[in-house]
Symmetry: D2
Subunit: 295 residues, 4 copies
């Protein structure tokens, strides 16, 4: 029985519970209005071993929950945009890839985000300027689908396009699992380590990272589910649940999520996509970007 989380923040918390945050892991935390930003750095092998995460930077942005009706939180948007921009090169084409399955709501964050990214790589400078958009950074967008639907590893499809369009960096967006219900839909994780096998909501994929693609890879995700087995383990104070069906009745993995999972995923995709658009097109204001992508 294993606790399932894709959040480095939660892995750090587990270590802290056991009072053994090792020298190989650094962490700092800032609060801006209602938004808390935690930067965790896994510095070396010692840190990797302790946290179970590759060396690199893991930024967690905890924002007010998406479930209230007041629209996008400005502090949240600014924090996500800033933290993303800090991990990306300043120039060159960026490929944004939205991973996951459009037909499975809790797994649809990636394609729903991709559908809102402003693709610009095909727009000539002349066209952009005559449309009053100034200089656009070239952005390409993919929603490569999932292995079960394509028969091709997601990493292969992305690598094929990377070889062709030679971007300066890749941004991959995927749904995550967290340990805590309170984090669902209101936590954004950004990392420069790419996506490791086993990430996402229950699907194993080959690694998508700088090692495999040979360009910087920034991953972004929002937890949309808690694994039911993890919840049970926590409820039982560390005991695995006697009832084996909890985790795998007839082979289907069970999740805990808000009833309004569709709304949660839509709101999260809006925030992540808009933050990406703002980070990649600093010459355009927020409203212009919304009107160009609100399809």
């Amino acid at each position: 029985m294993q606790l399932r989380t894709d959040l480095a923040l939660e892995q750090k918390e587990m270590l802290e519970e056991e009072r053994r945050l090792p020298p190989g892991v650094d962490s700092d935390e800032i609060q801006i209005g209602s938004v808390r930003v935690t930067r965790i750095k896994v510095k070396d092998e010692e840190g990797e071993k302790a946290l179970g995460r590759k060396p690199g930077t893991y930024v967690t942005i905890e924002v007010p929950p998406f479930s209230d009706d007041a629209g996008m939180d400005e502090n949240a948007l600014a924090a996500v945009r800033r933290e993303l921009a800090a991990l990306l090169p300043d120039e060159g084409t960026v490929l944004v890839a939205g991973l996951g399955n459009t037909r499975i709501t809790p797994d649809a964050l990636g394609p729903k985000t991709a559908a809102r990214i402003l693709a610009t790589r095909h727009i000539t400078g002349e066209v952009a300027r005559s449309a009053g958009l100034g200089d656009l950074r070239p952005v390409a967008v993919l929603a490569p689908g999932v292995l079960g639907q394509t028969g091709i590893e997601t990493s292969e499809i992305i690598a094929g396009s990377v070889e062709r369009i030679k971007p300066a960096a890749v941004v991959v967006v995927d749904a995550l699992a967290s340990r805590r219900l309170a984090r669902l839909g209101c936590t954004v994780q950004i990392s420069d380590t790419g996506i490791a096998p086993g990430a996402g909501v229950g699907n194993r994929r080959q690694e998508i990272s700088e090692e495999t693609l040979h360009v910087p890879v920034v991953s972004m995700g929002v937890p949309t589910v808690v694994d039911a087995g993890t919840l049970a383990y926590d409820l039982l104070g560390g005991e695995p649940p006697a009832d084996r069906e909890l985790t795998e009745p007839r082979g289907a993995s069970m999740i805990v999520t808000p009833r309004e999972i569709d709304l949660l995923v839509d709101r999260a995709a809006q925030l992540v996509a808009h933050a990406i658009n703002c980070a990649l097109q600093p010459g355009l204001d927020s409203e212009t970007l919304l009107s160009l992508t609100d399809g």
Copy 2:
């Protein structure tokens, strides 16, 4: 802290655990191939008090899980069709109403079922016969939406149409909550008592029943979620969970469901809709009905 279930079968099981099945409740069970049918009759006030359910018949059909790829189970279809037909009058217009919210996947069973019901009330006998369909039973279909989207109680919309079209019976379809994960998507409950306030996935509605509509009302449902609080209660052996966020973090009710909730709801809607179509149009064979409704 209360256990949440919409299945009379599970309420009976709770009573049996406590060895107090009262004289006011009868129950029999048959197994046909892979399908088990349990008929529970609440006979009087004593039974109502014990089971927390109005007097009437509650049929539970446990079918093989919908999640395998082999299409619709013939035994399951036959059982649902037969049990539904037994509770309906043999003649006269039937109004089928699919309750719930299309935008919330676990709550979309009703409208997804309604979208597959063959509406015939507007087809004249002559047209039907010249199309080779013989005599069709008049069927009307509504997907009235939910209070939050319409501002009108579902029961009011249905009552308004019942007054106009004066059907011989009403069939209401709604998503249910169960106590056991193993029942999600593979249990159909049929009852002649209508839908009581508080049924469905977390929404309270006014009663839709023979008392309020003055025609027989048959309710059909499939559990699509387990309430997270109920799961926790069971895991903890009857203790309410210490962690209050489990059930209502920031006001959102948490559910446990398979990751493939979209597929589960689609499959359940296909089975329920096809069983209704077969029960209402005994003169048409299964394939013809599928080709007429598979839009």
Copy 3:
């Protein structure tokens, strides 16, 4: 062979071409920025006979095309809002009904509009005030579907709800056909005469009007298609096309529409819905209304 248009404006234009605008029809026109508003009044039987329209007011608002990316036109919004408000009573519950078929894109304007209307009839004054929304006008919303899917005339479903909730007025929204391609998606017609049989994109329905519902009925529509037969007739200078298949090859009616019909319908629904919301909730500003309905 008949010219097909749902726009009173185009019927007036036809009369003018023939220089026979009769005394029973009045018309005035104002231009506000990029928006032109034409008010046609059919005053009596003479006007009815000439225009083929019931006595009443027909307002046509010609707005810049929805197809550019710059978001909603403020002048257009203000004009639609003002003209609608002028035809509605100042107080009392309003029922908004979106007619048409969600599964047929050119016919989906009504349900897509309904999905964006803020339903408030179920919200108590106390709840609204504590949410900072002040006094809300009670609004109910229906998307009654189409006869082929429900087996019930749309007018019956609406009448059933009108009897129950007794609104002060009904607003019905439906897709229209126009004669001119240039009007598709960029013309809003508002009328106080309701919807007459045969309106909409090719479906005949029973009348929905003050005569049948006994409360004021305001109809709103946007042309989404030109009938292919009408286009041919115009191209041929008033000759019916020799090729009969043009209009009804194998029984399917042919339409002319922009390739981006999905986008046209979405944009039109956004404008119409937002204008309705603004007209019905004058106490809320535009942004608050958008954030409450942008789901």
Copy 4:
């Protein structure tokens, strides 16, 4: 003013009208029940010049219209399957790519077809046999999106994946334009020449063919629209329409299509996808394939 058609059959008809079918073009025609199959071979440069099509084979399968409710025509399915199989190698991985835009209904044939193709490349022989599926031919599936959404030429995305997975052949599916309304939705064109620039419903793309991908490329398409300018030209007996807005009012290209365009595209995608699945997996029967892909 140019007549717009993607059907080689219609280009041949135009030549025949003018009695100048050149020696470089061969054609034969067979009728099987209600299905007519016309095979046109462009044999050399002379033929290419005459027909405006690259040398190769163009098969047109005219089937009964999809708009009746009786399900898929068996003769049509058999013909499409057989003609496709004749152009494909017998062994090796096949990549199926569905071109077009899911958000534009008349352009959605490709992605809607792709969504119904059985992807098998990731399924090991052992897994397939233990599931009773015998030996599966490896199939990969892509829905690469459109340039405006991705910023990447469709041909680049496909070429990137072809380099990675090295298929024995590629099948590309795309929506077509025809000259005749009667062909909409009931004509399937299959060709071994790939997709030339300018094909599809109004979008120009780079060529996707054996020359560019270095593996055999079979293209499949169904006409979903008639260009409004082409219709006008035909109606006027070869005169360009005086009214320039017909073709490009405010820049949007106008199309003629059945009002039920959504249904037409769904039905066409079902037929094309099922024919592809049957052609690629001859070891599985039709019903098994439907149950494996009917998501």
